[in-house]
Structures are given as structure tokens and as C-alpha cells.
Subunit: 341 residues, 2 copies
């Protein structure tokens, strides 16, 4: 591969002049610039970006780190990040943390291959993130919080979202409620449970609420846990799932048992993924502001890169999206007035 040296030789000029010419510094005369460009073209010269980055000690690139590139990655979120990055003239790379400490993500986090990162992955240890985050290397964390001066967290108001969803069920007349989630140690899960519980408490329904927390947060586990719920008998009339994926898995399980949603049991999800509106019945769910989340993340990253001081924590509101998976339980037609205690 031709290097800048070869171009210099062919154009009969020094290396530095070639560099200036290629980078459009106006120091170099028009005639030599033309000569250099022609030489570069003839040699099919392409600059080595790595060498360039090394010298400049900046990559003008940020990374979006996700657990799995093949996973669901909220198109709207990416769009928000993408647009902000583009407008700042930065490049955006996506990579995954699959593989743990050997993963591409960790490599990029620690080896200064990018100028900053937005992280949406739970499987990267806090210690790794703390070690990677530096003054000149800010990290924006989505749905996650760690103790570190160079890190900013953006969270959605999970507690309030689940509280709102639960109240919606109660308002429709549901009294026997359940929350179905995954591993109870996950902070996100905890927050969601807590919103659920607070609503129950406020309406004097603690004793009627069931909590089912176990395993992963995906469709398969939603399906499996719902089957267990059915097998146990004593089915609640309203269920709040940790997220849409689990809810969709749950609906599938109900269908297989001939239990009608929302006729026999009402279901609410969380996230408002694209599928939620296509699934039958269309899923009532708690919406996260996806685009805004991405845009905010990217915006904050650049603020940090500019050396501006930031809050350590931002919280975004949620909204209830009412579709067709919730209905008043049998014998409870019509809205029931809320009664706080």
C-alpha cells in the first residue's frame, strides 16, 4: 500500500508538504497541491487512519456499546445518537460486550480507540467501567448507575412508570394483581417492582399482589413463567410484566391454554417496542422516550468531551400507552373510582 512517503517521492516534494496538501492547509501553493493530489490519485493512496489517529491523539469517534449486536436494539435510540454524532462530525461505532473481558466492547473502552462511549450493557463489570472512564474519556450509562466521577447515568423513571401502569389496572377494577419479572437482583427490575408495590400499598391491595421474579428478561422466560403461573392456579386478573418481550411470551402462553387476553386476564408490558402494536391483542405498555434518550446520551457525551460539568444522573419520564390488552375484569364493567388509603 502506498504511503504518504510514496506520494511525496512521486510528486517530488517533502512529506510534510504532502500532509499539508491532503489536509487542505492553505500554506501550500495551488500548483503543488494539484501535483500532489494527482500523484496520490495515481498511486491510489489512502491515508492510514490509525497512524493519523495516533498522532492526533483523537479519533473523533464514539462507540455505542450493547450487550449483543444481534439483540433488539432500539432503532429509535440509535437514531437519536446517530443524528447528534453526525451533527458534531463524529463517527459512531457499535460493538458488543459479548465475550466479557475479552469482548470488543471492553477493548474499545479501555484501549482509547474511541473518544467516549455510550453503554447499554449490564454484563460489563462496574470496575471495568470505572477503570475506563477518565477525564478525557467520558462514559454515558443507559439504565445503569455506578459510582464514578467521569460517568453519567441516564435512567428512565421505572418506578413511576410501573406505578402508573399498576394504577391503570386498579382503575379498571382489577384487584388480584401480579408482577412478572426476571432476576430480582437487577436494579432495573427492583425499580419496577417497587413502583408496582407502591401502587398496591396506596390502594390497600398489598395482600392481593403476587411477585414472580426469576431468570432472564426475554420472551422465552416470560412464556415459561406464565406457564408456571397458570399451573399454580389462583390466576390474577391483571399482570404487569417487566417488559414487552416477557409480556409477549406471556400472551403466547395464555393463548395455548385457551385463557383469553384481555377477556380473562389483562396484561401490561414495559418499553413499547415496535412489536407491541402488532401483536394481538395490541399490547398496553409503558413507553420510554427512545429517541430522546439516545439524543440526550450523545449530547451529554459531547458536553463532557467539551469539558463542561454534568449532573451525574438524568432521569426521563415515561408514558402509558393504552392499547387492547387491558380490560375491566368480569363483573367490573365501567371505570371504578380510585380510592387511596
Amino acid at each position: 500500500m502506498a504511503t504518504i512517503k510514496d506520494v511525496a517521492k512521486l510528486a517530488g516534494v517533502s512529506i510534510s508538504t504532502v500532509s499539508y496538501a491532503l489536509n487542505n492547509h492553505d500554506k501550500v501553493s495551488l500548483s503543488t497541491k494539484k501535483r500532489i493530489l494527482e500523484a496520490a490519485r495515481r498511486l491510489n493512496y489512502q491515508k492510514n487512519g490509525i497512524a493519523s489517529d495516533l498522532k492526533r491523539s483523537s479519533t473523533r469517534t464514539i462507540a455505542l456499546i450493547v450487550t449483543d449486536l444481534a439483540g433488539p436494539h432500539y432503532a429509535e435510540l440509535v437514531k437519536g445518537i446517530q443524528e447528534v454524532a453526525l451533527s458534531r462530525g463524529y463517527d459512531l461505532l457499535a460493538c458488543s460486550s459479548l465475550g466479557g473481558e475479552q469482548s470488543t466492547a471492553v477493548k474499545f473502552l479501555t484501549e482509547k480507540r474511541v473518544d467516549g462511549a455510550i453503554v447499554l450493557a449490564y454484563n460489563i463489570p462496574a470496575a471495568t467501567l470505572r477503570r475506563a472512564a477518565r477525564e478525557a474519556y467520558p462514559i454515558i450509562l443507559l439504565d445503569r448507575e455506578i459510582e464514578s466521577p467521569h460517568t453519567v447515568s441516564i435512567e428512565v423513571d421505572n418506578e413511576a412508570g410501573c406505578h402508573m401502569a399498576t394504577e391503570h389496572l386498579i382503575e379498571q377494577g382489577h384487584r388480584r394483581l401480579a408482577y412478572v419479572g426476571g432476576n430480582p437482583m437487577e436494579p432495573l427490575n427492583e425499580q419496577r417492582v417497587s413502583g408496582f408495590k407502591r401502587a398496591l400499598r396506596q390502594h390497600g391491595l398489598e395482600r392481593e399482589g403476587q411477585l414472580h421474579q426469576f431468570g432472564m428478561f426475554n420472551r422465552d422466560n416470560g412464556y415459561a413463567m406464565t406457564k408456571m403461573l397458570i399451573a399454580e392456579g389462583n390466576l390474577p386478573t391483571g399482570i404487569l410484566y417487566y417488559n414487552d418481550e416477557m409480556a409477549i411470551g406471556g400472551i403466547q402462553a395464555f393463548r395455548e391454554y385457551g385463557i383469553r387476553v384481555p377477556g380473562d386476564v389483562s396484561v401490561i408490558g414495559f418499553d413499547d417496542i415496535e412489536l407491541a402494536q402488532y401483536v394481538r391483542p395490541a399490547l398496553t405498555t409503558v413507553m420510554q422516550p427512545k429517541y430522546e434518550r439516545g439524543a440526550l446520551a450523545a449530547h451529554l457525551l459531547f458536553q463532557a468531551l467539551d469539558g463542561k460539568p454534568l449532573e451525574p444522573r438524568y432521569r426521563l419520564p415515561t408514558r402509558l400507552i393504552v392499547r387492547d390488552s387491558v380490560r375491566a375484569p368480569a363483573g367490573h364493567e365501567g371505570k371504578v373510582p380510585l380510592r387511596s388509603e
Copy 2:
């Protein structure tokens, strides 16, 4: 940030020894290695990956280039690529060609920031790809073909897929058929049309086939074009759409006009995206082997990197997935024997 130099100084040892120690060459004695590791830990040393890549002149990284990171990104395809890359100890990066010649994608393609690339993007000019592809920098193209010695194309058998889909409609008794696609100049579109036309020809139905090709290949345009089709009157009974997205847009349009699918008109898509099975009616479609495509792409990329000679072109088979969006037209109940001419 601490560099290898600082570590060397603290450990009281030369730079080269530090490098050897950190890279686990067995040249260095256990005691000094321990001393060096301890010094590195104390300084919170992290190697500069860019400098390392520059010296090694290899990145052990490949890129997946897509038109839009926020676009639909066939999870299964990515999974195939990811698994093969991981098994070879390579890193995988995803970036987009949004922004044309200034895009991250083009930068990565031309500036040797990765060792090779898999490209699933139509908006990168063939000239750019040809210029970027070199002996030591292979490029695998998905759904696209260009004339170049260092480039390999993987295509799905679009022609056969559409032929099969069209025959399925004919077999069910449909006689008045239409193809709805986008910009007729796109090679993919051409291939699909051609399969459609061949089936019509074989069954003596050329004259009953309509072709509607215009605009983009997304849901919105599927919706818009279907509305035009309806407005024109003379509705066909069976429609083959360029892809699932357009078909889903089309079904939406039919619904708004009270035209039943598949009662009044049958619809087939192409791709078998995840949504296809969730949409109502569930979409009959032509499936592409997604995971296999990704795995093959990555596999071929590594073959090329190993210097093995490759076919310039691979073609993958498709399969018809029968769901609920096709039914025999009114007055044509029961299967109609195919009759070739």
C-alpha cells in the same frame, strides 16, 4: 494517561521488557514480570490500542457496514457474523454509510482501520468499494455485485424465490396478479421482478400481470403504492410485494379500505422478517437463510484474509413460508392443478 514508558520507569526496566511482559512472552523472568504488572496496576496503565495496531499493522477487527445503524438489522444475520468472528478471535464493529462519502463506513473502508468488511449497503458507490478492496483487505458484499478481484458477492436466489411465490399464488387459483416493488433500477428489484415474470410466462398469464415499481422499499411506500393500486380500480387477486415491509404497508392500506386480506386479495412478501409472523393476517413470505448468510459472509471473509482463493459469487436458496395471507380467490376453492405451457 500512563504509557508504557511510565511503567518501564516505575518498574526500573526497559520499555521493551515491559512490552514483552505485558504480552506474555516467556522471555521475561517471573520476578520482573510480577514487578512490571504491579507497576502497571499502580499507574492504572492501559495500552493504547491505536499505537499497537499501527505497529502490528493488523487490527484483528472486521466491520459490518449497513446503510443505517437505526435500520432493521436482521438480528440473525448479525448473529451469524458475530459467532464466526468471535470464534476466530476477531472483533466486530458495526457502522453505517449514512452520510455518503463522509460516512463512518467509507472512512473505515478506505483508511485501513479494520482488516476486512462485510457490506450490506447500496448507497456506497461501486467505485469506492473497488478502490477500497485490496489483496489484504477483502470485502464481502451482501445482495450486491460489483466487478472487482478482491470482492465476493453473496446473493440470495431472488429470481427463484419470486418464481416460487408466484407459482404458489397461481396454484391457489389466482390469475390476475401484480408485483409491487420499488425503484426498478435496483438490481435486487430486477431479479425479483424477473422471477415473477418467468412464472407468469410459464403459465400463460403474461397479459394478466401488472407491474408496479416505484420509489423506496419501505413500509410507507408499500402503503402508498397499494393505495394507488386500489384507487386505480381493477384490483388483482394476488399480489407479490418486493419485501415484507412493503407487504405490511400494503395490508395496512387494504385494511383502511375495508378490503380483506386474504379474503379479497392475497398477499406474499419476501424476507421473512420477525414481524411477518406477528402481523395479522400472518404473512406468507419467501424466507432468506439469514443466519447462514451471516455465517457464510464471515467465513468467506476469513478465508480471504488467509489468502485462500474464493469464488467471486455465492448464491443461497430461499424457501416459501406459508402463513395466512394467501387464500384461493372467490370461486376457486380447492387447489388448481398447475398447467405449464
